[in-house]
């Protein structure tokens, strides 16, 4: 029961304190929201790019376009050779007809009709081997071996796209983390200041509390909870903001980043928990620093 009374006392006093110093509290909460919106944006973009990276990895890693007029035996021998290479997972043969069907299908998807030109001299596509890898790093070795094979006309890989995307992710991640860190520091100072002002404005009350024998916990925790309240309100508002813009964002994430996880509620739950944890953490740390430095000097 004493603990329940302590918690009740602290929560009620924190709530009263938040609204007694409403302008400063709301300003601190607004900075928390700003930081968490930035964090949420960064999380969404990084998650999207990571999913895109996985998508590229999961797709055909190496495509070997074959010379014309290869015999069936020659193609089968080539497939056996490629399957025996280190780092190769699967090898699929794509005939010229199947390649044409895919091309037509991709045109249909974007609402256009494939113009095959003069019917007397029909366009034909190359046959190819689509090779998936167990290890994306094996791409270079497999490509080199295929290039030297006489049955292969040209080798195409996704390595360049992979490297480009990885570079973009690293830049965005670094810039994003630095940006969120800087805003986070601003928020921390804002909360430290808000709570310090609250503490000074209630200096008489604290003095009386100390003289009548209130423990440090009874003096400190209402202020710490007040800081946590700034973080909590900031996090909840940000979660609602993300939820509000989630419907337009979600299909874009699926289309742009090829990110199937975006459609799952688990992604939104993870993001919400992250926002909640960071909001509460910043609020708690800021107010703890503020109250601790004050009480250490006055005891």
């Amino acid at each position: 029961m004493p603990f329940v009374r302590f918690v009740g006392f602290s929560v009620v006093r924190a709530w009263q304190g938040f609204w007694r110093n409403a302008m400063m509290s709301l300003a601190a909460t607004a900075t928390v929201i700003l930081m968490l919106v930035l964090l949420a944006s960064l999380f969404i973009v990084i998650s999207g790019l990571n999913a895109g990276l996985e998508f590229i990895e999961s797709k055909v890693a190496v495509t070997a376009r074959l010379e014309d007029n290869l015999t069936e035996q020659r193609v089968e021998r080539l497939i056996d050779e490629v399957e025996a290479m280190a780092g190769v997972a699967t090898v699929d043969y794509v005939s010229p007809e199947e390649a044409m069907d895919r091309l037509e299908a991709s045109y249909r998807e974007i609402g256009r009709v494939l113009d095959l030109g003069d019917a007397d001299s029909p366009i034909t596509l190359f046959a190819s081997l689509e090779i998936s890898l167990t290890d994306p790093d094996a791409s270079a070795d497999v490509s080199a071996a295929l290039s030297e094979n006489g049955a292969v006309e040209r080798v195409l890989t996704k390595q360049a796209e992979y490297d480009t995307l990885l570079g973009i992710i690293n830049v965005i991640r670094t810039v994003g983390i630095v940006g969120v860190g800087l805003v986070g520091l601003t928020v921390l100072f804002m909360i430290i200041n808000t709570i310090r002002i609250a503490v000074y404005s209630r200096a008489n009350e604290i003095e009386i509390m100390r003289l009548v024998g209130a423990s440090d916990s009874f003096i400190r925790w209402p202020f710490i909870l007040e800081g946590i309240l700034c973080g909590l309100i900031g996090a909840v508002v940000t979660i609602f903001l993300v939820a509000a813009v989630w419907d337009p964002i979600q299909p874009a994430m699926v289309q742009v980043f090829q990110m199937p996880t975006a459609v799952s509620t688990r992604f939104l739950t993870t993001l919400s928990l992250l926002l909640l944890a960071v909001g509460l953490g910043v609020g708690a740390i800021g107010s703890w620093i503020s109250v601790r430095s004050y009480l250490v000097t006055v005891r």
Partner: protein, 245 residues
């Protein structure tokens, strides 16, 4: 009325001093000597005046008793506890054994009389039932039962000081320290406050009152501790006090 002030300190040996200072000295970092080799022993139930001019060391004396400060040297014991060996976490427990009132009352202006008294119980985790029972008892003791819902701004100086005294008594303290409690009051009201302190003292609470009021000290003829320049110049029972400034 005796039941209003239950004595937790009765368990202690009756002859053990409730306040004891042995060779206590206090020198501030700037070199100013606030107290020098002070030896004082106050038994339970005593009524003691602490007198002296401004800067004599009265405030430092009181701050040492409530462990707001620690002495540079010497030993301070209050209510059976050695304040130098006390851990930070034990300080609130000590302060619940000491009630303290000030010249400027230090009431919370946005709380009523009853809320000001209840606040002292609330912030120490007292159950609601205890608060509801205890506050009317204390307001009755100090004669403010009809002013429970008044704000401090609606009270006279004497009534505000009575509220502060009720608040100081919420934890049944062994000692009541009154730092210039009549400093802001007219002579008639001052005597009313002194009568209340005597009443509280008669119920067993040790009272230490710092004052400049020569008339009150001389009329009361109680024990007087006279400080000057940080030195205890006089410690006399049933003494008088003559201001020389």
């Amino acid at each position: 009325m005796t039941s209003l002030l239950r004595r937790r300190h009765r368990a202690e040996p009756t002859d053990a001093p409730v306040i004891s200072m042995v060779d206590v000295g206090m020198t501030y970092p700037n070199g100013k000597v606030a107290l020098a080799d002070v030896n004082v022993s106050i038994p339970p139930g005593d009524f003691v005046f602490l007198v002296g001019p401004s800067g004599a060391g009265k405030s430092t004396f009181i701050r040492l008793l409530i462990r707001e400060q620690l002495p540079t040297h010497g030993q301070v014991r209050v209510a059976g506890r050695d304040l130098l060996r006390m851990r930070r976490g034990q300080v609130p427990g000590l302060r619940r054994r000491i009630g303290i009132v000030f010249q400027d009352f230090r009431l919370l202006p946005n709380k009523t009389v009853a809320e000001n008294v209840a606040f002292a119980l609330d912030v120490t985790g007292a159950p609601g039932a205890t608060i509801r029972r205890r506050v009317p008892q204390l307001l009755s003791l100090v004669g403010l039962q009809d002013h429970a819902h008044h704000l401090p701004t609606q009270l006279s100086g004497g009534e505000q000081q009575r509220t502060a005294i009720a608040r100081a008594l919420v934890h049944d303290p062994a000692i009541l320290i009154a730092d210039e409690p009549t400093g802001n009051l007219d002579p008639v009201t001052s005597w009313e406050i002194i009568q209340l302190l005597i009443q509280i003292n008669q119920l067993g609470t040790t009272v230490l009152m710092a004052t400049h009021n020569q008339e009150i000290v001389n009329a009361m003829r109680r024990r007087v501790l006279a400080l000057e320049g940080g030195h205890l110049m006089r410690d006399e029972a049933a003494a008088a006090y003559e201001r020389e400034y």
